[in-house]
């Protein structure tokens, strides 16, 4: 069973690393949010892979469904925020948000 677990944890770590690198390097707000989504995919793969390897797939599945539902409301809120930021600054560049006024 350890080999199966190793496979899933390996790819989950790769996904989380790719997402973190994207979060560190990118400047476009939508790209940053896609990076967060990639990290989330890695986490749900890790949860289900561990549940599968430890014969606890039902609990892991319930956790992943909880995560997916919360992810949808997170995405809706964050994309609404991004649209509002675009209306205010006319740009999606994250560096424009660092310029404070007032």
């Amino acid at each position: 069973m350890t080999n199966t677990w190793y496979l899933y944890v390996f790819f989950a770590a790769a996904l989380v690393c790719a997402g973190l690198l994207g979060l560190l390097g990118k400047r476009n707000l939508i790209k940053l949010f896609i990076a967060i989504e990639v990290i989330g995919k890695g986490i749900s793969l890790l949860l289900l892979g561990t549940g599968f390897a430890k014969a606890n797939i039902l609990t892991a599945q319930a956790l992943v469904i909880t995560y997916i539902v919360i992810e949808v409301s997170l995405v809706a809120t964050a994309l609404a925020l991004i649209i509002n930021i675009y209306r205010h600054t006319k740009s999606l560049d994250i560096r424009n948000l660092a310029k404070l006024k007032g």
């Binding site: 997402g19 609990t59 992943v64 997916i68 992810e71």
Partner: protein, 160 residues
């Protein structure tokens, strides 16, 4: 096992493509394909409910939301990503993959084995009986998301 590994490799490739492609629309579609592959992986791990949610909600609904946002914000073409990142990203990622392959197996061996008894009952029993309170929290989170979107798109009164 081989098919599962191929699906996992495809998942990582499409996720990295979603981060590296310059066209936002293409990267959103690439993210949707990654979700589709993840859903198939879930199906093959005997987790059909998680697979259905992943394919219908993440690959469907979230992609629609992304495409809608990209359309509303005019693709954001004017942003120049730094060139250094375009070089550094693949290098660091490949280095991480190598370290991951070398280290992860011994790391997993050090994780103390938790008690993991075989589960009994159906998925519905586990979902509804083992976790009651946090499902209420989940409903509260969805409501909070709805109210947040409503508040963000609120129209201004004439008095403002």
């Amino acid at each position: 096992m081989i098919l599962q590994t191929a699906l996992l490799i495809g998942l990582v490739i499409f996720s990295v493509l979603a981060l590296l492609l310059k066209d936002l629309l293409r990267s959103a579609i690439s993210l949707a394909l990654a979700s589709l592959l993840l859903g198939i992986i879930f199906f093959r791990m005997n987790a059909p409910y998680a697979g259905v949610f992943e394919i219908s909600v993440v690959a469907g609904l979230i992609t629609v939301l992304f495409v809608l946002t990209i359309a509303l914000t005019g693709k954001g073409e004017a942003i120049h990503e730094s060139r250094l990142v375009n070089w550094v990203f693949p290098l660091v990622f490949v280095a991480f993959l190598v370290i991951d392959a070398l280290v992860m197996k011994s790391l997993l061996g050090k994780v103390p084995a938790l008690a993991s008894g075989a589960e009994s009952g159906s998925f519905g029993e586990v979902l509804w009986k083992a976790r009651t309170i946090d499902l209420v929290g989940q409903i509260a989170v969805i409501l909070a998301g709805v109210f947040a979107v409503l508040a963000l798109f609120r129209k201004r009164d004439k008095n403002d």
